[in-house]
Amino acid sequence: MDSPYSLLFWPLAALIAVSAIAMVVTQNIVRAATWLLFTLAGVAGIFFLLGADFVGATQLLVYVGGTLVLVVFGVMLTAQGPFISMKIGAGEWAIAATVGIGFFSVLAYALINFNLEIPSTPTQATAPAPSLTDPQQAAAKPPRSLAPSIVLGTALLGFESATPVEPLTGVQNVPASLVSPGVPNATPSGLPRPPRLRTRMAYLLPFEIVSVHLLVVLIGAAYLARSKRRRGVTP
């Protein structure tokens, strides 16, 4: 995957590394939050780079737009002064640094020495055209030639076919620009192909579970953070 964009990896990695370390080092919590922002943005960039547009966008929206703001709100709500800094001793710094370096070196050693056997990924041009009518192959992975986000969305909705057409799903026929020319987008009669549901509703159930979990968490957080009235004292 030596595409021109892959060169962008290095500046992004540098950004991530620098800002992450800076975040660890800095004493000002708000600055730390800023560095965290840069880190997260860089990670989002990495996601885009890896072709996971949806994940990247989600990263931006949820982390940068939501979580981080939440964190900063926390900072503001719990700040005693404009500039909070809780210093720790140099000794602890030393210990932490050594441990951290040791940890990273162990991980890096393991990564580099570990033999990663990856099946050579087919490029878009030479992508085999999987016939969506063949159940076996359909049950197998959808073609990478499709935009990953569509694959992802259809998977989340529990479809085997990346080209559902019914308004039932809300997903109308995918633009030809997103489908590799090899993939037939419609039946010979030109009519849209009916969608085929996976027997195992792919990731629909986890998706629902996560959403319910989110709701529960929000309620719990609201309950935890609510202002408690003292016991015995009736306001």
Partner: protein, 861 residues
């Protein structure tokens, strides 16, 4: 319902039996509720319920219950008796007709010419036999019923029919029907009488003059209801005893009767004497019941059934095995075993009048004992178990009979065990009347009569002698008694002796006959004495009475009737029965000269009886009042007492008359009883009757008549003597007493029976008990105490060990743990950071270790 009753009218008697039980349960329930509500009598509703169930003053309701129940029972049994009599006569005629027909048919079969006719005759004979069988079956269904009560372990007997089931059942015949009528009738009269007699128990608090507490006399609640409660139970048990057809049920009722007598004799249990008397009665009966149980066990073991019919059928030779049911009858077939078991597992016996075994029927095939003549062989199927030979050792049978008879001795106060009955006078007088007349003592005689075929000749001789001794001893003691009730008590004992004697000498009808008649006049006498005592404010000593005729004429006259009856004055019921007894005794004595005593004793005693009965009557009702105070306060009894007296007087006079009354043997009651006389009687006393017949043939007048004349003469002597002494005062009683002081002391100490027993039995028992106590205290207790001390010492030492060593170890462990904890707590800085650091370090360590392991594994061979 009506059909049911018509098909088996025997149920009438069952109802009659169960009615007193029902009243008992009802009254008991009432008492229970009363006791339940008593604690709450202060509260509002509690008070209502409490007073609803009697409140503080005992009401008459229990008496009404009991009286109603027993009277209904009387009605039922009277109806049943009538029914039974009519039906039984009809049945007898039918059976005789059938048998005649069968006879003729069989003759035809024998005489018929030609094959055709012969066959027809045979068929007709068979049909007749079938009809006869069905007749017998129907009769049985009507008047008997057996219900398997509960099954017991077959105890591995090869014959599963034996000894597996204990039954309840009833079987009505003339004897039981008559007993029913008698018991229920007298019981209802006694109930009525008691309602008057026990009236002072109706008070909320009764003062008992005979019990002395630190503050004067005892004051207690009235026990009117309780008295009738006991009476009902008493009646139920007696009726059940009469009703049933098996020994086991009899035994149950036996014990029930015992406990009721205990409760009633000890009715005034605050009185020391009363409670002692109750205990004495109970314990004495226990001795008898021990024998009874022995008998039961033997019968159960060998016969495997308690049903009378089964027992008799097995030990007596069947009269006719060819038709219908096997009649329990005939003789005990004695035999001796001949050789070992043969191949077929059969034991062959040789019939021998002196053999040591008694053949059991019908376990022997019928065709094999058509004629048990001396010397003939009998093959009996056997099994290795000795108790399952088709035979019973003769001595075992004797023991069984003796055991059962011992039970009877205890119940009806015969010679060795007669001591309890006089003390039983401690109970209220109606109770004495009931015990003596109708229920308890009658039970023994009834059982002997009922189980008669069970007794071997030896046992019968024993019975006869026991009866003879009893009647003489009791009569002699009665002569010197001054307590009116004591006199009556001993007269009862002596009369029971008469009955036993009669049964023993083969006057089977005479015994129950005297039982019935005696029941009436003894009840009369007791109730009369009760009336006297009641009128004299519980004064029982005859020496303080006298001249009461003017105060209570009805009582006097009615009691006179009773006295005449028991003395055996002709045309009074006592005369008939006693005459029968004496006659039977004389026949027996004539047949066996060595047993002449068995005729002399009752003859003499008849005179003594007359003497002491008239003595009692004269002392009580004639002459000058010896105690002015008693005389002044004496008064006639209320109607509830006098009415029963008059009824009983009438009954004890002409109740048993047959035609003509002057004929001693013409009593209808005797006739009725004779109809149910067991065939065994005729077999066992065959010789006696034959001798009597020879005598009658030889002389103009029969043995029976001779005996009657002799008895009358003796009675006349006794009467004259009594009249001279106690009416005309021809010679002074006191002086006579002085002259025969030794004899008098001997008699008034009741032949020193109590003392004898206390020396022979009570003292040794006490001594043994003391020994046991000593052994217990010195031996066993010391061992126990030493064990206890050693245990204490051990536990003390163990405690030391525990505190010292074990706890020490535990504490050491705890201390070590504490030290380690104190050392380790330094790791718990409480800083989140350090925890995270430790986490990371752990991860690093694990990764390194794993990679090392992986590498070594990869590098390794």
């Amino acid at each position: 319902m009506v059909d049911f009753l018509q098909n088996n009218p025997g149920v009438l008697f069952v109802i009659a039996t169960l009615l007193p039980l029902a009243s008992f349960l009802l009254v008991l329930l009432g008492f229970g509720l009363w006791c339940v509500f008593r604690p709450y009598r202060e509260t509002e509703y509690g008070a209502v319920l409490y007073h609803l169930f009697g409140g503080d003053t005992p009401g008459r309701t229990p008496a009404y219950f009991a009286l109603g129940a027993i009277f209904l029972a009387f009605v039922c049994s009277a109806v049943g008796f009538g029914w039974y009599t009519v039906a039984s006569y009809k049945h007898e005629s039918d059976v005789q007709a059938k048998e005649a027909e069968i006879k003729t048919r069989t003759d035809e079969v024998r005489t018929a010419k030609g094959h055709q006719k012969k066959e027809e005759a045979e068929i007709a004979a068979l049909a007749a036999e079938k009809e006869l069988a069905s007749l017998q079956d129907h009769w049985k269904d009507a008047w008997a019923y057996r219900w398997p009560w509960f099954k017991v372990n077959p105890s591995g007997m090869s014959d599963p029919a034996r000894g597996t089931v204990i039954e309840l059942g009833y079987r009505i015949d003339n004897l039981s029907a008559l007993m029913f009528v008698m018991v229920t009738f007298i019981a209802s009269l006694i109930h009525l009488f008691s309602m008057g007699y026990m009236a002072d128990e109706l008070a909320p608090t009764v003062e008992d003059h005979q019990v002395h507490t630190e503050d004067g006399h005892l004051h207690r609640r009235g026990r009117f209801g309780r008295f009738f409660l006991y009476l009902s139970l008493f009646c139920f048990s007696m009726l059940n005893l009469i009703l049933t057809d098996n020994l086991f049920q009899i035994f149950i009722s036996w014990e029930l009767v015992g406990i009721c007598s205990y409760l009633l004799i000890g009715f005034y249990y605050e009185r020391q004497s009363a409670s002692n008397a109750a205990n004495k009665a109970f314990i004495t009966n226990r001795i008898g019941d021990a024998g009874f149980i022995v008998g039961l066990i033997i019968i159960w073991t060998y016969v495997g059934s308690f049903n009378f019919e089964d027992i008799f059928r097995q030990i007596r030779w069947p009269a006719e095995v060819t038709q219908g049911e096997v009649q329990p009858a005939a003789k005990l077939v004695r035999a001796r075993a001949d050789g070992e078991l043969n191949a077929a597992g059969k034991q062959s016996f040789i019939v021998d009048p002196n053999g040591d075994q008694v053949i059991q029927f019908p376990r022997v095939p019928p065709e094999e004992h058509s004629s048990p003549d001396v010397g003939s062989r009998i093959e009996v199927a056997t099994s290795p178990k000795p108790t399952e030979h088709g035979s019973i050792p003769y001595w075992v049978l004797c023991v069984a009979g003796l055991g059962v008879f011992l039970g009877c001795v205890g119940k009806s106060a015969q010679f060795p065990l007669q001591v309890w009955l006089p003390d039983a006078m401690e109970g209220p007088t109606p109770v004495s009347a009931l015990i003596h007349a109708a229920t308890m003592v009658a039970a023994g005689v009834y059982l002997v009569a009922r189980a008669f075929p069970l007794f071997t000749p030896e046992v019968l001789i024993v019975i006869a002698y026991v009866g003879g001794i009893t009647l003489f001893v009791a009569a002699t003691v009665a002569v010197v008694m001054t307590d009116i009730k004591k006199v009556l008590a001993y007269s009862t004992v002596s009369q029971l002796g008469y009955m036993m004697l009669a049964l023993g000498v083969g006057g089977w009808t005479a015994g129950p006959f005297h039982l019935l008649t005696h029941a009436f006049f003894k009840a009369l006498l007791f109730l009369g004495s009760g009336a006297v005592i009641y009128g004299c404010h519980h004064e029982q000593d005859m020496l303080k009475m006298g001249g009461l005729f003017r105060k209570m004429p009805i009582t006097a006259i009615t009691m006179l009737a009773g006295v005449l009856s028991i003395a055996g004055i002709p045309t009074f019921s006592g005369w008939y029965s006693k005459d029968a007894i004496v006659g039977a005794a004389l026949e027996f004595a004539y047949a066996h000269r060595e047993h002449t005593l068995l005729f002399v004793l009752p003859l003499v005693t008849a005179g003594i009886t007359t003497f002491y009965m008239f003595r009692m009557w004269f002392l009580t009702f004639t002459g000058e009042p010896r105690d002015q105070h008693v005389y002044d306060h004496a008064r006639e009894a209320p109607w509830t007492m006098t009415v029963p007296l008059m009824i009983l007087a009438a009954l004890s006079w002409f109740f048993v008359w047959g035609w003509d009354p002057s004929e001693a043997t013409a009593s209808w009651l005797e006739h009725e009883l004779r109809r149910v006389e067991p065939a065994a009687v005729h077999v066992d006393f065959h010789a006696v009757h034959r001798a009597a017949k020879q005598f009658d043939g030889k002389f103009a007048l029969s043995l029976h008549y001779v005996a009657g004349l002799a008895a009358l003469g003796v009675v006349a002597i006794g009467l004259v003597f009594a009249t001279l002494v106690y009416y005309y005062r021809a010679l002074n009683a006191e002086e006579t007493k002085e002259q025969f002081a030794t004899l008098h002391r001997f008699l008034s100490h009741k032949w020193y029976f109590d003392e004898l027993y206390s020396v022979m039995l009570v003292r040794p028992a006490l001594v043994v008990a003391n020994w046991c106590k000593a052994v217990d205290l010195l031996g066993i207790d010391s061992v126990l105490h030493s064990v206890a001390y050693s245990t204490r010492w051990l536990s003390w030492a163990e405690g030391k060990f525990d505190n010292g060593v074990i706890d020490g170890l535990v504490n050491l462990l705890a201390r070590v743990t504490l030290r380690v904890g104190v050392a380790m707590r330094q790791l718990q800085t409480g800083y989140l950071r350090s925890y995270v650091l430790f986490l990371v370090l752990a991860v690093v360590a694990i990764v390194i270790a794993l990679s090392y392991v992986v590498m070594t594994a990869a590098a390794g061979p």
